[in-house]
Amino acid sequence: MKKLLHNRFVNVIALIVVLCLLGCQGKKAEGTDNVTVDALTQADDIVKLPDSKDNTIVFTPQWTPQAQFAGYYVAKELGMYDQYGLDVKIEHPTSTYSAIDRIRSNQSHATTLQLLQAMEIIDNGIPMVNILQTSMNNALAIVAKEGNNPLNMKSKRVGIWSAGFDQLPICMNIKENLGLEWVRIASNVNLFLSGDLDAITVMTYNEYYQLVQAGVEITDENLFRFDNSDYNIQEDGVYVTRDYYLKHQMQSKAFAAASKKGWEWTAAHPEEALDIVMKYVNEYHIATNRIMQRLMLEEIIKLQKDHETGKQEFKLKREMVEKASELMHEYGLLANEVSYEEIMP
């Protein structure tokens, strides 16, 4: 207990020091024209944008507030966006108005998308550009009832989100001839808990822990993780429309750089980052708790680390895009293949 308090105390002090440094930095930046680089920003390779109304970016994560978006909340709350001269507003989607709806109507400039989602959108005629890749691994998993193998459930009902994120399971089901019967569901695990589904598709940072929190015993036997298979396709990244990117390259790059810093700080200070996440979670009355968000954050950071290097790489791999495009095209989810160049700026 004493150790815990001590750690918390140290963390709080660290947070205060960082805030003070950032505050000092902000003050120094005041009153400067055009691009001003002070000592700290030089060291961190931060270049402040010249003042412009174009520096306002509305960012909409693809879901309601949770630790999945911790790095952006941290960048906003610790003034990292300000350092780059950006005025970032984080506006979440609602159940009736999704992030992509907001992008389409120009209410938001940037959003987070999974790679396969982004490719579908591009294939549907909305060119999107990846300005920051956060995920290095796939977070999908299938959990079956205790004692069942998720890959050996022919004709069994498997829950899958009605809202999307289904591309990879669908491709795998066809390719591997698994014979799973998909049941489109809303975003919770109730139907699996009530026994009306034989298995359920989960995100390892979200629904997986909802099941654990509901007392479901998950072992290697009844769990299939995509990141341990040939289907380990990268997921979350930050996207803007190509049109926006072409007109706001500096802003887009600055947003990506600041967001990256936010994620790096989050990985180094998970408990303080969690405080910030909980602020957003409570503001939006999200039905979750700190323990679940801590577990989610730990998993998200784990997924951001490349299997080979063990580091947060923030890099979309060309072979990933090619593999995903080929897979989705082969099984009819893409009318035309989407190239790496189409996704990247």
């Binding site: 009736t96 049941v183 979750t288 323990i291």
Partner: protein
Amino acid sequence: MNRLLNYIRESLARRLSLWITMMAALIFIVTLGYMFSASRKAVRNESIAHATELLNSTALRVNAMLEKVKIATDNIDWLVARHLDGPDSMFVYSRRILINNPDLKGCSISFEPYYFKEKGQYFSAYSLNENGVITTEEQGSNTYQYFYMDWYLQAKLRQAPCWTEPYNDYQEQVLSSTETIMSYCKPLYDPKDSTFVGVMSTDLALSWLSQTISAVKPYPNSYSIMLGRGGTYFVHPDSTKLSLQTIFTETLEKPNPQLTALGKAMTNGEEGMMELPIDGVDSYVFYKPLGDTGWSTAIICPESDIFGGFIKYQRVVWIIIAIGLLLMMTVLSKILERQLKPLGRLAYQAETIAGGKFDETLPTTTRFDEIGKLNQSFSNMQKSLVKYIEELTITTANKERIEGELRIAREIQMGMVPRLFPAFPERDDIDLYASMTPAKEVGGDLYDFFIQHNKMYFCIGDVSGKGVPASLFMAVTRNLFRVVAQQELPPAEIARQINDTLSEDNEQGMFVTMFIGILDLQTGKLDFCNCGHNPPVIDGKFMEMEPNTPLGLFGGIDFIGETIDDIEDSMMLLYTDGLNEAENVEHEQFGDDRLLDYMAQNTSTAKTTILTIQKMVAAFVGEAEPSDDLTMLCLKLKEINK
């Protein structure tokens, strides 16, 4: 602590009262311990029965309400099935069910996509009762695809009526409840071909259930909870847990097998009771499933509440007993002190008597119990003691007088033998030394020597017995030797005359062993007569000689004298049996061998020889009491003036 122990130890009354109190305390502890244990079991059983009864009645009330929802739904769904051709009638049915059942929160009759071609992909007739005002609306859109909702899918997949988990259905700009609700969902089938067409869902506000369950409070600090299928808290006094945490949440970071077991039991629909700490408080948890909903309710009763009264009663009893025992110990101590007071006085008097005041008057008592008898016995003992002390005083005075006389006698006796050495300082040829150590104040050993006409007359003797009689006999013998030897008679004649004199009127039958020698200092010739005495050692060996009887036993007998022609440069040791028969604590004797071994190697002077032998004997004897007088005479003729 030591002071307390000493305080207890110094009084018999205190010790006795403490022991009695301790025994009483032990009996009380065992008896009351058993009684409290049995009572605790009874209280526990009673509490279990009470809580179980409450839980059952709560479950009955909840089930009755849930049954009411089922009946209300069943009363309408047949109408829905009969009018599948008229979608607008669904608005009437969903509304009617709420009019007929004001407790219900909402009702939706929803259909599969494109079931009614004219209505498009979505058709759901929904009515909501908001504070008694019923509003009806058609629902379903791209942003609210109801057929993916739990309440729709669950009934569809199960193909049977069921209850959903409590959920929050609120959606902006759409008619929806702001309250958390749970729905009874019933699948709808076309009566013609039994195909699934949609779901009728009837909603109940969680608040109603929450109020009913929260009202169950058998003890002041007890409370009730309700869990959903996944262990989510839907009723709990801590609102921060409601819908946000499950019973397993805290176990994810801090494993708690007991809480996990409770969660598993409840989510598995089991009924029972568990004892476990809840939020650090030892509690009894009584749980029971709510019908076929998959939910479970529990009453959590802190142990301190259940046993609060009992523990209070137990404490009071223990305090009364503790005070009672203290009181008992105090009173008992006083009574015993009073009863044992004569003993105390007696102890004081005894101490005074022990201090020398033998005439101290003992307290008189009229008691005839053990203490009275002890007083009497002590009084008798005191009288006997006084008498004994008087006699002892006289005896001691007599003994001291006798000892004084004996000291004088010893001095006299020691004065009878020559003790000044060198005995003949004018002569360099004679090395002579002698010593006599009586075992008691006076002894029966003797020695003597003198020179007359260039001859040395010497003797050593040992009177039978010890003490005063032997010393008197020794004195007589020594005087006889002086008188007879001065007549320059041969040793055998000296022996004969002494024997005759001693044996006259020797009624005590005492005798003396004696070695008589005459050394011619000019020639070195030794004449001697040994009358039953230990053979002297000469040149490290015992002298060989004729045996004669000791002197004083029989008168008129002759003695055989012997001669050694020359003992020049020979060391001769004469001694009494106090030397070779000296005993140590193990009753071993000094023996002849030690003596001969020493004498065989000895080259020192007569004085050194005797002093060395004395030390050897003292070292051998050690702590043992001297058993006999020890007398030695050592003689060496170094140079002959021929």
